[in-house]
Symmetry: C2
Subunit: 326 residues, 2 copies
């Protein structure tokens, strides 16, 4: 066997609404080179495929070449690991079921695996981050929606249809606030930044106290944190309420799964100083007694982009066969 036939690297792809990032990664998780291009420039999935293939081939030509590449892993919102498809994405312009893994495989002649972004991020955190060595943990993500990935007994828990981990759509307040999903009282309706904006409106309506919140129509996570740091009582109260509801939702989550740790990603960490104390206190109040002192609250040790690329590389190393998808 020639030395240059040994497959020493994989390609990781992180597809997001704004941007698609491509990286060449070695087996220790070192990123050798990256490139990216704007995702939303390609309203036709065929054009997107061409842009992605070209970007991968250019990156390989300028760096390791293709011969050392074993396979490709892709992280994508609405990705389905079993089918290798992006399925009914509410946000991408490509509608319906898009068999992206098979399309890229056929274009480049390399094995391709594709997974849901939350699941892929958990793989990254597991292989190279804060969850390294854990058999049972959950990873929480919070961007426009609240997602999670469950790892149980050393395996990602996908569920029967690939939808496991939708903790954001568990009900914390029966008959509560309407959620974007059409249900009532979902955790997500309270703890995303959109939900926190609604809570602020409730807090303002209940009080006559002055507040910087009164001067803004909507605010970002960083903005309300700034208000809190200036001592704004109603901003602090808003995040305390948010923390309590998050604690209740996580208590139910942990009571069902008994994870070793809940890993928070940085989207949540922006708020952490102002919500975590209430989150943890409420968590302790509502979690199953026998595990109350056993579940660690842990912070991700990877940044958002790195976590997704690392996870995509794990997917890539784990692909067993060239011909996974029809």
């Amino acid at each position: 066997m020639l030395i240059d036939n040994i497959k020493t690297h994989v390609v990781g792809v992180d597809i997001r609404l704004e941007s698609t990032t491509i990286a060449i990664i070695d087996i220790r998780g070192n990123i050798v080179a990256t490139t990216h291009f704007p995702t939303m420039n390609y309203h036709d999935v065929g054009n997107f495929l061409t842009a992605m293939s070209d970007a991968i081939m250019n990156l390989l030509e300028q760096n390791t070449g293709i011969d050392c590449i074993r396979s490709i892993g892709i992280s994508a919102p609405s990705g389905n690991f079993y089918s290798g498809c992006i399925e009914n994405s509410p946000n991408f312009p490509w509608k319906g079921v898009v068999p992206l893994a098979a399309m890229l495989r056929d274009r480049l002649g390399l094995a391709v695996a594709l997974g849901n972004d939350a699941h892929v991020c958990a793989l990254g955190e597991w292989a190279f981050g804060a969850a390294h060595g854990m058999k049972d943990f959950v990873l929480l993500t919070m961007q426009s929606g609240m997602g999670s990935c469950i790892v149980s007994n050393g395996q990602v828990c996908y569920g029967a249809n690939g939808f496991a981990g939708e903790v954001g759509h568990t009900c914390v307040i029966p008959e509560g606030r309407e959620c974007g999903c059409g249900k009532k009282g979902c955790l997500e309706a309270y703890v995303t930044i959109k939900g926190i904006n609604k809570t602020a409106k409730e807090v303002l309506a209940e009080s006559n106290k002055p507040s910087l919140l009164r001067d803004v129509d909507t605010f970002t996570s960083q903005a309300i944190v700034n208000f809190c740091e200036q001592g704004d009582e109603l901003a602090i109260e808003t995040l305390r309420r948010t923390g309590k509801i998050l604690g209740l939702g996580l208590a139910n989550f942990a009571t069902i799964l008994n994870p070793e740790a809940i890993v928070f990603t940085e989207d949540l960490m922006v708020l952490s100083r102002w919500i975590m104390e209430d989150t943890y206190a409420t968590f302790q109040e509502y979690v199953f007694r026998n595990i109350a002192d056993k579940v660690k609250f842990t912070v991700s040790s990877l940044d958002d982009q790195t976590r997704a690329l690392m996870g995509a590389s794990v997917l890539a190393w784990d692909v067993k066969e060239y011909s996974l998808f029809k």
Copy 2:
């Protein structure tokens, strides 16, 4: 190799408060012979071990002999599969951590596995019952408490400390009714027969209507079902409320796990005609939309005793080594 060296059978043991049942079982799940003795006669665990060993050896002598026995599996409340111990049982007279699997192994010279009763029951249902062939399901049990076992991706989900599946202690009504566990608003506080008795008292207090419930101090599941069958409006209302709360709890459970099915055991089936319609309607209302029509409600196809013995036999066949526990 002599034909009588082939291990064709295992011993399954089902330890309950009232009675300990022992069975010789073949690999197809056929029960060859059974015996049982009263558990609570033995306040000392050494005496219990002797009674159990003697019962096993007598049963073997009268039937297959010991040479064809591969190993022993035990189902026990508060059993921990990882340690082979009964741990801090609130009900057995043997306090603290009892290494029963190791004790029985050393006494009889056979490999012994021990598991939590809910987990063992799921194994039985999986190998020989309604969940046969499913990779993702949950089994619900309801006796004095509400238990469950999660099977995810073809594996029992034990959790980091063996406590996964405590769905009975998820909070369905924040700041709600006190539960025996010390927390507030647990599902178990509403759906066990003790909880249903409390709900009945609330229903009676809200209404002036006559009801058979007014003539009894406490009632069993069968008794309230009888009242419903006689058209007792307040009994029916009591079970409808119970059904709704159960549906909410199960919706959160399924939203997190995306199981193919929820398998109900007979303890719940006694009530089913009077709660299931509301349970399913509320489940549909609160479960994550993408899986609303995908989760089956299924009834166990084994009786309570058979399920535990079948599961214990699966544990026994799966024991790999003689020397599992210290």
